[in-house]
Amino acid sequence: MPPNKLTIYNRISVLRAERGLSRKELADAVGVNFQTIGYLERGDYNPSLELAFKLSEYFGLPIEIIFSTKPLKPLSQALFELRKERAA
């Protein structure tokens, strides 16, 4: 039997909303259909490495900030914890 499909969590919807982009605008920028962006946001589709890098380049963020195999914390919480770590 094939192994269960790996769930890849992402922050695309948050980053898109933060930049005030529609799905179509983001899709055009990375060269995919806007439905694909929606499916990525919903977790219905896992991106190829190429698409993941394109999104990473577009948002100007490291790939591990956008995608993770573990559930992602809200960005504000992640930032707060990082600051706390640095202060300690």
Binding site: V32, F34, I37, R42
Partner: protein, 157 residues
């Protein structure tokens, strides 16, 4: 530019219902004709014809609706992205498997049981299966609204 002029948006559940409806009607007609087709009395022929015509109408209308609702067909083939190409490959792979089995079944029905018309059904399956699998596999469509966040994975996890 779209592949077809008219397209409709249906949820995955509705598309799956259409797929089940089309193949259920096809199976029902098959069973009906296999059981009584060659031994019909004069009184039985008109109701059978009406049922068959109705069944075909349901299948034709259902197939047209299904074809119009498949999102992949709303994008020209040359503009398909990685997900769309992947979906097409998956649908074809699944339909070829079913088609292979149905071809074998048609051979048995035709050469062993003498039902030559079974190949017509195989032709119907060959045409309809890829679209049926596409409709079955496609997730619910998403809207291109400006800033709506659906399925926000940060919020849900």
């Amino acid at each position: 530019m779209k592949n077809h002029v008219f397209s409709i948006t249906l949820s995955q559940r509705k598309k799956r219902f259409l797929v089940i409806l089309i193949y259920s009607v096809l199976s029902a007609l098959l069973v009906l004709w296999l059981r009584t087709g060659l031994e019909l009395t004069d009184e039985q022929i008109p109701p059978m014809e009406i049922v068959t015509i109705l069944g075909f109408l349901i299948m034709v209308v259902g197939s047209v609706l299904l074809n119009m609702s498949v999102q992949l067909y709303a994008t020209p083939k040359t503009d398909w992205d990685e997900r769309q190409k992947d979906l097409r490959i998956k649908a074809n792979a699944k339909s070829y498997r079913v088609f292979g089995v149905s071809l074998l079944a048609a051979y048995i029905f035709s050469d062993v049981l003498g039902m030559g018309w079974s190949y017509i059904l195989v032709a119907f399956l060959y045409i309809s299966l890829p679209t049926a699998f596409l409709a079955w596999l496609e997730p619910d469509p998403v809207q291109n609204d400006a800033f709506h966040i659906s399925g926000d994975q940060e919020a849900t996890t």
